[in-house]
């Protein structure tokens, strides 16, 4: 069960020709797929396309009606390999993942499908996780398009353009027998807007048609001699076909002024922010009527030589806006102009930063520098648009910034992964620091405060492989961490299988929270929930045993002391060979989402329910905050010390506490402080409850009144 349900929204995907669709970018993409007559859709979740996977999953019934097979793939590699269905058959298919990390994983299959080429349209929708909020290495998917020769679309970030590009993308793929990548930036995936819809349509040639009438063409298989002819085909046939299609369908756009001696070439995805930057510089109105010509690359690979030459020929200088590095497009455009002996000056990374996100402010500064150097023909700026005054640099703002506490992401309230790291923290106190090899997933937050645990992370599922060099005689073992998501993605073979085969003597800790939690709580093989279209409940333990691990322990993740002891055991046991600990505890976010509505219902119907929450007595808390350093739960916070003598803030549990019990466990295991208490609140108490409570309260209150009397005698 995913973090966000789109069940309501997917109903809007049924609207027909001429109706206006309102919604998020990812929903628009789904609608475009349905309008394009796809036969199969697959993918692997990860921001920014996690929600696209959730939308697709929620749209499964609708897709089934249209004969579309949807698959939540085991990895991006599985998803990419799915495109093989389009090699021999006129089947349209789309797959999606987070890039560049997912494209890295998928690139084996992508290279193969690109080499042999496709018959049916094959579309790869990549969510480019670049810039603010990103959690991955900052690289460009552009390089993958270039190396495998797939075409790369980067549409203007409005729903109409995106939907058009999905539809044209399939046609381009078929016209040039080449898979096409559609790049959507993170804000574009989540942009809310509208477009005019068309009818959904089912494919005329179905998956079943293909399965019952298989076609075989060895010329499409990557084996000599076909692989050599593929390379020739790419440059002699597919490339020219793509150029023709892109030109004839005007996939790139010439916007802004019709003529001018300076112009701008921009990646489609940056167009909106460019217009705003031009507008505040007084060079455009809000509708994009700019005072200089703009060539918008909705297709960023391949470049169309004739279009570039045509755009640049009458210009003195052109500003090329290309986000990220290396500057592939700038190099290519310069090469094209040089070969044509054109003198047009291409200004790109010399006025814009080589690396980093092109925000509105960055674009504005680049444009201003470009216009100052080359834009005298534009006259005084300001006749159009907003012409906002320059922001003065304020040193006061830097001072303010230094004062603001950073807000790193962290484990959610009640997260079952936090106690695992509390246990590791306690063990560190005992045994000193360890080398910890991390993986991708929520558990990676361990590297941030307050835990500060973890040395490297090499990729999804690669936690244990990342420590495989450290397999030598030593007094200390290494700990590797892997999530259940990463485990099934590839960690079972790259990590566990690898360790068994190479007789690794170190420790792996698998965090099993029942979901691919970091990406939004999607189900995986070991999920406990029952799903109609998926087979779940396959235990990690049996898979680990299956590849030959004999030292295997399972610990409930909230049991800090047991986790610490088990880890200590794994790190010190004389037994040789790989040691695996599985920490089990369901993702609290998902659990709450599942249980809260049921509990609310029960509560309303008068059923007896016990709500558990933790609290801290401010009079026995001394304000050292050890508990926070060992837990970091968002519900564990601080507040003003009510004691007039004490000056440090006291720890406090706020109302978001879900009663997971970690506070108490840590207080016990770390011998912390007796300030914590657990409160069990009996809601809708029964008759016996009320009787017992009354009796206890009476006795306790009687005793307390007597003590109070004694105390108050000398109190003032």
């Amino acid at each position: 069960m995913a973090e966000r349900s789109f069940a309501k929204e997917v109903e809007t995907l049924r609207i027909g020709d001429g109706e206006i669709f309102h919604g998020e970018g990812i929903l628009a993409v789904t609608k475009a797929l349905l309008q394009s007559g796809v036969s199969y859709v697959g993918g692997y979740q990860g921001a920014p396309i996690s929600h696209l996977m959730d939308v697709l999953a929620d749209a499964e019934p609708l897709m089934r009606e249209l004969g579309i097979h949807f698959e939540a793939s085991a990895s991006e590699a599985s998803a990419a390999a799915m495109l093989a269905a389009s090699v021999n058959y006129p089947l349209r298919g789309a797959v999606t993942w987070k890039s560049t990390v997912g494209t890295n994983v998928a690139s084996d299959a992508l290279a193969n499908v690109s080499s042999g080429g496709v018959t049916g349209g094959a579309l790869v929708i990549i969510g480019e996780d670049y810039g603010e909020g990103s959690s991955i290495m900052q690289e460009r998917s552009h390089a993958f398009a270039m190396k495998s020769q797939m075409w790369l679309l980067d549409p203007r970030p409005n729903l109409t353009s995106i939907v058009d590009m999905v539809e044209l993308g399939f046609q381009l793929s078929e016209a040039s027998n080449t898979p096409v990548m559609l790049e959507l930036r993170i804000r574009t995936c989540h942009v809310y807007g509208s477009f005019t819809a068309k009818d959904n349509r089912a494919a005329t040639f179905s998956l079943r048609d293909a399965m019952e009438n298989p076609v075989r063409d060895t010329g499409r298989i990557v084996l000599p001699p076909a692989n050599f002819s593929h390379e020739q085909e790419k440059v002699t046939k597919r490339w020219p076909a793509a150029i023709d299609f892109i030109k004839s369908r005007r996939m790139n756009e010439f916007l802004g002024a019709a003529t001018g001696d300076v112009g701008i070439i921009v990646q489609g995805g940056l167009y909106n922010n460019l217009i705003r930057a031009l507008e505040v510089e007084g060079l455009s109105d809000i509708f994009g009527k700019a005072r200089l010509p703009i060539y918008v690359l909705n297709v960023t690979y391949p470049l169309i030589t004739e279009e570039i030459v045509g755009f640049c020929a009458d210009k003195k200088a052109v500003l090329l806006i290309e986000e990220g590095q290396p500057d592939y497009i700038e190099q290519a455009v310069n090469s094209i102009l040089r070969k044509q002996d054109l003198e047009t000056r291409i200004v790109g990374k010399d006025v814009l930063p080589m690396a980093g996100e092109y925000t509105g402010a960055v674009l504005r500064a680049g444009i201003a520098a470009f216009i100052k150097a080359h834009g005298e023909s534009l006259g005084a700026a300001g006749s159009l648009g907003h012409n906002l005054p320059k922001q003065p640099d304020s040193p006061a703002l830097d001072d303010l910034n230094a004062l603001l506490p950073p807000r790193p992401a962290g484990f959610c309230t009640g997260c079952p992964e936090r106690p695992v790291f509390s246990a590791m923290k306690l063990l560190e106190r005992e045994m000193g620091p360890f080398h910890v090899s991390c993986d991708i997933g929520c558990h990676l937050f361990s590297i941030l405060p307050p835990f500060n645990i973890g040395n490297t992370t090499m990729g999804y599922g690669l936690g244990w492989a990342g420590a495989s060099a450290f397999n030598t005689q030593s007094d200390k073992r290494t700990i590797s961490v892997m999530g259940d998501g990463g485990f099934w993605h590839n960690g079972l073979s790259s990590g566990v299988g690898n360790a068994v085969f190479n007789k690794n003597d170190n420790v792996l800790l698998i965090v099993d929270n029942n979901y691919a939690a970091a990406t939004g709580g999607q189900d995986i093989l070991s999920s406990r929930g029952k799903r109609e279209s998926k087979s779940t409940g396959h235990s990690i333990q049996s898979a680990v045993r299956g590849v030959g691990v004999t030292w295997l322990k399972t610990v409930g993740s909230y049991d800090v002391a047991k986790m610490r002891d088990t880890l200590r055991d794994a790190l010190t046991t004389p037994e040789k060979g790989p040691k695996v600990i599985v920490a089990e505890g369901e993702c609290m976010l998902n659990r709450q989402r599942r249980e809260n509505p049921l509990l609310a219902k029960k509560l309303k119907s008068g059923e007896r329910l016990v709500r558990t929450r933790f609290g801290i007595d401010p009079d026995s808390c001394t304000g050292d905050h050890s508990c926070i350093r060992l837990s970091g739960c968002p519900s564990l916070t601080i507040r003003e010390n009510p004691d007039p003598l004490r000056e440090d803030p006291v720890a406090a549990v706020d109302n978001s506490c879900v009663g997971c019990g970690l506070c108490g466990e840590v207080a016990h295991a770390a011998v912390l402080c007796p300030s914590f208490y657990r409160a069990d609140v009996i809601q809708n108490p029964g008759r016996w409850d009320r009787f017992m409570a009354k009796m206890r309260a009476r006795i306790i209150q009687w005793v307390d009144r007597r003590s109070e009397k004694g105390r108050s005698r000398h109190a003032f």
């Binding site: 909106n272 809000i286 004062l403 809601q683």
Partner: protein, 530 residues
């Protein structure tokens, strides 16, 4: 140059929401979009839900554009996907530091931005994890928001929502309505909420309360409004004034003791001394409070009026805290008071018809058990290996005690009754000896090294907590006291001791202190050489 839409052509209204993941920024964005569409606007919004969602800071960005204008132009507007510094009409910040962050990123400008900010604090992990007070300076941030915004609507929107059982997004929506920054009537907001359905009554109530407060904020005019951070952590809490009125109607023994305060202590420390005395009475008895006053008066006699009796002030506070050290007896006493049960009920928001049971987490170790025994017995337990081991066997695991059920309550109650024999316990004797040593140092240096004596007084803050935390703090304290003789010979001794104290509080691994100490032992040698 003020923005003039008539002259420069139509523009969108730009609105950024600066929030923490999970605070409902998405819900709020959705409401604004729906309302804008209902009022004849085209609306676009985007966000970056990646890892920021997990408690990090994130920005939602909206642009609203009058549909009529687009029709007139015959084409749709090109709307941006992220805010540009200097180009934001409205910033909504769901927490004070996030308001500060929006200001520091240049999104809040005096020529146009209405800033709607909740002044409550959600502390960041670095603030919470500090070993003392690590909270950021809220006042400076609040002043910055006031200085940079054209209009500021600022109050505790979280508390105002929670007061009516709703969440902050409702009161942010209400404050937005009340600010008048958007050209939509109140009904448009409320109709949008009604469409949502869930928690409608509470949401409307929170909306209405915030609407009214925001109106008042705006009426007080942008720079005239004087909001204050809702939960600052002042260093001086409200100390009750020392007044002899306190003694009225009390037994003579209490009156006599309170009379000692004005008679023996300078006025500057009266308030603290009253609190300290009260603490010692509550902790042990009148005689114990008398001991507190004896000790304090001795320091006060050595103190310097020209220095404002600073030393007496520090000692009045730290001595009271040290004398009320947290032993098992004290904890059991505090845990079993009726006022404490009432407080916990309120804290966990139990309704009157609900029953609350409390469970305590105690992990007494051999040390704590020995501490609570009469000193000779305590020593025997600690020093006889087999007894130590035998008692230790019972202390392997933490215990949970049900303090609101009879067994647990009477167990704790009988522990708290050990107060009568507290003076004979091992812990009492050890603590009193430490206190005496600390006071002796202060008294010894008060005349010749006033600033150093002051710092020694302040070092008591290191000794706090329980178990390992207490042992670590006491260890650090002892290390610092060990350095006092050396510091005495240096002109910057007091400043150095303050630095050492800060280093001891910098991390709980003792790294900073270790480095500082190492630097200290090197530097005098260098001095000698030169």
């Amino acid at each position: 140059m003020p923005f003039d839409p008539m002259k420069n052509g139509p523009r969108p209204i730009t609105l950024a929401i600066s929030a923490l993941g999970g605070q409902g920024g998405g819900v709020l964005s959705g409401w604004i979009v729906k309302m804008a569409e209902r009022c004849g606007y085209l609306a676009q919004y985007t966000s970056v839900p990646g890892v920021a969602q997990r408690t990090g800071a994130t920005i939602y960005y909206l642009e609203l554009f009058l549909h009529e204008e687009a029709k007139k132009a015959g084409r749709p507007p090109v709307l941006a996907l992220m805010p540009m510094p200097g180009d934001v009409d409205i910033v909504i910040a769901s927490e004070l530091m996030e308001a500060g962050r929006a200001v520091s990123r240049g999104f809040v400008t005096a020529d146009r931005t209405t800033l709607i900010a909740s002044t409550h604090r959600d502390y960041a992990i670095s603030e919470k994890a500090a070993m003392g007070d690590g909270t950021a300076d809220a006042q400076t941030v609040l002043e910055a928001t006031r200085a940079h915004a054209k209009h500021l609507v600022a109050f505790d929107m979280k508390a105002s929502a929670e007061a009516v059982g709703s969440v902050i997004s409702s009161s942010l929506f209400g404050a937005l309505a009340g600010s008048g920054a958007l050209p939509f009537p109140r009904e448009a907001y409320e109709d949008t909420l009604r469409e949502g359905g869930r928690m409608l009554e509470a949401n409307l109530a929170a909306f209405g309360a915030a609407y009214d407060l925001a109106r008042k904020n705006v009426a007080g005019d942008a720079h005239g409004a004087e909001p204050s951070p809702s939960s600052p952590l002042p260093h001086q809490s409200q100390l009750q004034s020392a007044s002899l009125a306190l003694a009225e109607g009390k037994p003579a023994a209490v009156r006599d003791m309170l009379n000692r305060i004005p008679a023996e202590l300078p006025p500057a420390v009266h308030e603290l001394a009253v609190e300290g005395t009260r603490r010692c009475v509550d902790y042990q008895d009148l005689a114990y409070a008398g001991l507190y006053l004896d000790r304090l008066a001795l320091v006060a006699r050595l103190d310097d009026g020209a220095r404002g009796f600073q030393l007496s002030g520090v000692v009045a506070r730290q001595l009271a805290l040290w004398m009320s050290y947290e032993d098992t007896i004290r904890v059991a006493d505090l845990k079993t008071r009726g006022s404490r049960f009432a407080r916990a009920r309120k804290e966990v928001r139990a309704k009157p018809d609900q029953i609350v049971y409390l469970t305590e987490f105690m992990h007494p170790r051999v040390r704590e058990i020995a501490d609570s025994l009469p000193a000779p017995l305590g020593h025997m337990v600690l020093d006889t290996p087999w007894i130590n081991k035998f008692v230790g066997w019972f202390c392997r695991k933490g215990r949970t005690i049900h303090s609101t059920k009879l067994g647990g309550f009477f167990l704790l109650k009988s522990l708290s009754a050990l107060r009568r024999i507290r003076r004979s316990t091992l812990r009492y004797q050890e603590e009193q000896a430490r206190i005496e040593r600390w006071l002796a140092r202060i008294e010894d240096l008060a005349g010749s090294h006033y600033d150093l004596a002051l710092e020694i007084g302040r070092c008591q803050t290191l000794v706090k907590g329980y178990g390992d935390t207490h042992a670590r703090g006491l260890g650090n304290f002892n290390r610092l006291m060990g350095a006092v003789d050396m510091l005495k010979s240096r002109a910057d001794g007091a400043a150095l001791l303050a630095e050492l104290r800060a280093a001891a509080l910098a991390d709980d691994q003792g790294q900073a202190l270790e480095e500082k100490m190492a630097g200290l032992s090197r530097s005098p040698e260098k001095e000698r050489k030169t």
